[in-house]
């Protein structure tokens, strides 16, 4: 398992998403670089309830704490965050 540890990609949820999903993070085993879109498809396939909970919601995502697009590449071991539009200030 030690050689697999780098392949774990953590997906973080914040604010209303964290409450909807009922947990702050889900780990996904990612074996090769993939786009944000494809990683979300993998997340939805493994956790169908997440797809239902986020259905028809607009969200932003960040890869390694930088705002990203659906085409941004995610490497195994990277951190992806999903969150609603921000409301600070």
């Amino acid at each position: 398992m030690t050689t697999q540890s780098n392949a774990v990609t953590k997906i973080l949820f914040f604010a209303s998403f964290r409450e909807l999903i009922g947990q702050p993070a889900i780990s996904i085993h990612l074996m090769k670089p993939t786009t944000v879109t494809d990683l979300l498809e993998q997340l939805y396939a493994e956790h169908p309830q997440v797809k239902a909970q986020l259905a028809e919601r607009e969200f932003l995502f960040a890869v390694n704490q930088q705002l990203a697009t659906s085409l941004t590449l995610v490497q195994p071991g990277d951190e992806l965050a999903l969150f609603p539009f921000v409301t600070g200030g």
Binding site: A62, L67, F83, V86, T87, G88, G89
Partner: protein
């Protein structure tokens, strides 16, 4: 570029006078400070006023994005120093939420950089507000007026 930015995300309150003193420099003739506060307004879809706000953020990304925006403001306006403090956690009515303080040689740069910082902060920094009234709690919705405010900085040069 000789620009210094201090950024903190914290639960504790901040002392405006102390932050102002820390920002003073001999080459700066202007300091502009903006403080955002919790107000007891009635949400548009509710009947009872706000009792408190609960703020959540993305540790690490919050600080990095504030510093990145401050750097962009410094590249655009001739400012010398900036302090940004954003509080998180549970904040009651009249408590301070955010400070943006900017020092520059002349006032125009400090006013503009302070406004730009707040407009970008409200659209790009991963912080979320939950509104608590006496009878219910809900996450604040992003406002289109905040997105529109950003247009000014994208079109004006």
């Amino acid at each position: 570029m000789n620009f210094r930015c201090q950024c903190r995300v914290q639960t504790e309150n901040f002392d405006l006078a102390a932050e102002y003193q820390n920002l003073l420099r001999s080459d700066c003739g202007a300091v502009v400070c903006f403080v955002g506060l919790v107000r007891d307004h009635v949400p548009s879809d509710g009947t009872d006023p706000v009792r408190a706000l609960e703020l959540e953020h993305y540790p690490g990304m919050t600080e990095n994005s504030i510093k990145h925006i401050a750097q962009q403001a410094a590249e655009r306006f001739d400012i010398r120093a900036m302090t940004v403090i954003h509080r998180v956690g549970l904040l009651q009515v009249s408590e301070q939420i955010v400070l943006v303080a900017v020092a520059s040689a002349h006032r125009a740069a400090a006013f503009s950089a302070c406004e730009m910082m707040m407009d970008y902060l409200k659209n790009y920094v991963p912080i979320w507000k939950k509104i608590h009234t006496q009878h219910h709690s809900e996450w604040a919705e992003a406002k289109s007026s905040d997105q529109q405010a950003l247009q000014r900085w994208l079109t004006e040069q």
